[in-house]
Symmetry: C2
Amino acid sequence: MSAKSKNLILKSGNSHKISEATVSRLPAYFRALTQLAEATQVRVSSEELAALTGVSSAMLRKDLSHLGSYGTRGVGYEVEFLRYQISREMGLNNDWSVVIVGVGNLGRALAHYGGFGSRGFRVVALVDADQTLIGTNVKCGSEGKTIELVVHALSDLESVVKKSGARLGVVATPAEGAQAVSDRLVKAGIRSILNFAPVHLVVPNGVDVRKVDLASELQILAFHEQRKAV
Amino acid sequence: MSAKSKNLILKSGNSHKISEATVSRLPAYFRALTQLAEATQVRVSSEELAALTGVSSAMLRKDLSHLGSYGTRGVGYEVEFLRYQISREMGLNNDWSVVIVGVGNLGRALAHYGGFGSRGFRVVALVDADQTLIGTNVKCGSEGKTIELVVHALSDLESVVKKSGARLGVVATPAEGAQAVSDRLVKAGIRSILNFAPVHLVVPNGVDVRKVDLASELQILAFHEQRKAV
DNA sequence: GTTTGTGAAGGCATTCACAGCT
DNA sequence: AGCTGTGAATGCCTTCACAAAC
């Protein structure tokens, strides 16, 4: 996808550990590079890309150095080439199918969320326990392709996961049901869960959980805000 | 609020730094303690509370030791007392007023979100740029008290912030408008911002921003998921 | 001259392991 | 005997600073 015939080091055994801290920043780099590419900018320095993503230039360079030596000294990085390398490293070329459990306000917001579809994530199934929701249609995706998905019954969770081929599960249920939902997602073969319920999910080894806790974020802000008052 | 006449060390100059890592875990401890209190459990060990929140018992004890010496050796912690100390430390006794900018799916989901109201956060104002939304009513809060809020025009942002007395701002706009919204929130006096837009916000010193990036979370999961495939 | 890539240094967070209370 | 609180040790992440490459 890019530039001069740069030495295509597709080192297949590319599994020397990338630290978790670095992984957590790659999406931000990827997004900034996408913006730059859309603005048809060809090259970018570590300084500039760092400013766009809110990290120091030294940290950015160290992060990127873990992926490979994709820059040119004295020049910078080529936007398209670096963007492609990051997308490859993060598996954004694959299409990732997502099942959302819990179609309340949050679940629905996630289903509509444009940021997913545009980055290789596709919501392929919706599940809820509420009898009045089951069987209804919900719009998924935003810009361009919006499809409608039927809300499936919680009791069909396992078969829905298997039929849809989802590999990523989103838990957007109330706290009470979250652990049970998680257990069943795991039983159905899901090994990566994004949890919005305000509880700590216990899962077997080999299963990843990331937690997003909206109220906690506000609490952390409030803590600092409180300290600011003179 | 609690138990025996424990020596009430209300050390007013209680500003010896608590590390950011510890602060980020306090909300989880608080939530677990709330659950235990509702289940009328009186005491809890570091081991048990740690299991509920997904940290090691040693880390939990070190975290709590930064707040003070609120446990009893050989016994454990008293649930209500510890809960109160954490809530005080985090400023959850105050009422925190929140303004949400961007009343799309996500903004609306946040407005409805029950977890806010129940922890001292109150959504007091909604702002959006969309002419078709301005002037309409949106339900806020969930269990029990749901109120309706009028959506205000983006051009009224500053006056809305000042009238409502909001100290916390939530940016739930598309990426394009987020920086401008942030600038205006800061100008209106807001010094703590929760940002859901997928951009890095640049703010003056003294202003805190926390970022929640839904697509990034999925990308991070996908990264690990990719590595699992045998 | 400019900017990357990277050892080395420094700082921060977590775990260990046990002294100190109850 | 049991559990907390905490110095010491470990490990991880970030920053520094400069050699290497253009």
